[in-house]
């Protein structure tokens, strides 16, 4: 207990002896963490979209308005005879309207001009093997009743290559951010060690153990991480709902983000956990380098 109080006391001394430096470090680390969070969120969200799409009926066939439901039922029955087809579901104009209404229940302006007639009826077809889907898609492309065929696989492929690019770019960016943070933490810890060289010398002479001397300097970095993680998380949690309502316009069916009650805990928990662990390791390495104990 005494030791914990001591470490906090010394850390506080280290930070207050260089107030402006501390302030600047926290700001920079906050920005770096925000970018890290953003990257994580984009990765997770795109992953969810992909998983969602991959689990969707893989080919959707939209029918022309004049097609009767008997005709569609007939097509459906024929498809169901095919042993390579897993399932076929028929979505009538009314059902399409209900789905649309549910997706946009918070936006009356979007519902105003939409009636069941303007939404097409469709069949969602999924196959036992993905490869077979392109056959089905081709088969319907020239059908006289069919307005449009959406082949989800195309979308998935396109999205995958897009997210791969985002991830690669983000990964490179993250690597650079990591290097910057390592540099900053090394500078700060080294600087603190130099500022307190007299104290360190005396501690060694009166018989302080190496960890006794080292802890406060490691904790310096940890405390910076703690502050920065908290600021970054606060900003992120404040911004995220806006992003969320924006993305809901496009992909309302996919739950991109965890429910709001958990958001703060999740974002803060992960940011702090990773940030603290990371700075602790880097600070420890800095003390290894510069603390002659």
């Amino acid at each position: 207990m005494n030791q914990i109080i001591r470490v906090i006391k010394y850390t506080f001394q280290h930070i207050t002896r260089n107030v402006w430096q501390s302030f600047l470090i926290i700001m920079i680390l906050t920005v770096l963490m925000l970018m890290g969070q953003l990257f994580a969120i984009v990765s997770i969200a795109s992953d969810r979209i992909l998983t969602y799409l991959e689990n969707q009926p893989q080919v959707t066939v939209f029918f022309k308005d004049e097609t009767t439901s008997d005709q569609i039922e007939q097509i459906k029955r024929e498809l169901e005879k095919d042993s390579l087809i897993e399932s076929v579901s028929y979505i009538t104009k009314e059902q399409a309207y209900e789905i649309y209404k549910a997706q946009h229940k918070n936006e009356p302006e979007l519902l105003e001009f939409v009636t069941p007639d303007i939404l097409p009826a469709s069949l969602d077809i999924s196959a036992r093997q993905v490869e077979y889907l392109s056959n089905i898609a081709k088969q319907f492309q020239n059908n006289e009743f069919v307005e449009r065929v959406i082949f989800q696989q195309d979308l998935v492929d396109e999205l995958t290559s897009w997210t791969d690019a985002v991830r690669f770019g983000g990964g490179v960016l993250l690597g650079v951010l990591l290097l910057i943070s390592i540099g900053i933490i090394l500078i700060v810890v080294t600087n603190n060690i130099n500022t307190f060289s007299r104290e360190i010398e005396i501690m060694r002479l009166v018989g302080a153990g190496s960890w006794y001397i080292r802890w406060p300097f490691i904790f310096d970095g940890v405390l910076f991480a703690l502050f920065s993680a908290t600021y970054a998380s606060a900003i992120m949690v404040w911004v995220l709902p806006y992003v969320q309502s924006f993305t809901d316009h496009f992909i309302a069916t996919v739950e991109l983000f965890p429910p709001h009650e958990n958001l703060i805990h999740l974002v803060w928990g992960y940011t702090t956990g990773i940030g603290v662990l990371f700075t602790a390791v880097v600070s420890y390495l800095a003390t290894r380098q510069h603390l002659k104990v």
């Binding site: 005396i202 501690m203 002479l205 018989g207 153990g209």
Partner: protein, 220 residues
Amino acid sequence: MIKFDSVSKWYKRSGVTAFEEVSLQINQGDFVFLIGPSGAGKTTLLKFLIREDIPSEGDIWFKDDNIVRLPRRKIPHLRRQIGMVFQDFKLLRQQTVFENIAFALEVVGKKPSEVKEIVPYLLDRVGLLHRERAFPQELSTGEQQRVAIARALATEPEVLLADEPTGNLDSQNTKQIVDLLKQINEWGTTVIMATHDEALVKRTKGRVVVIKDGRLTEQR
């Protein structure tokens, strides 16, 4: 209690040999003057004892431990048993006399309540109880050295090393510091004091070891 066994020290880069196979035994309760001209190796010899420096060859025994081969993790324990004061005091300038000594007590794990009791006791032993709120630069150099001695006593060491503790002092302050070290010795602590002040040594009782040209000779 302390035994130097054929200790040599040379510096490869400059080719200087500081000691050649010196041996020396110091017993519990001894008061030893280590004398020799500047650059003779007095500081180096004292630093061997707290493992601030290590010999190139030979062994140094403190009780049952060979200091030269002591594992790093045992060094703190050694330094609590062998205290050292320096010519430049090594006090924290932004801290009061009280805080300077409390700092050392904290290091050895004393609780705040114990610190409050022990600091006045240590200051009383060096005759500075009335100056506990002063900052080092508000004290005379003699008083600063006494604070440094009080701090070295914080770990209740069995041996106290003093490296030219009177090097910066006038004759009156010198006498006070030597008297204080004598007193500490009478309370039971083994004291080794390095100095180049031969006149001082002549008028004070105690063993005298001379370092010259890399050799030790017992003078008294």
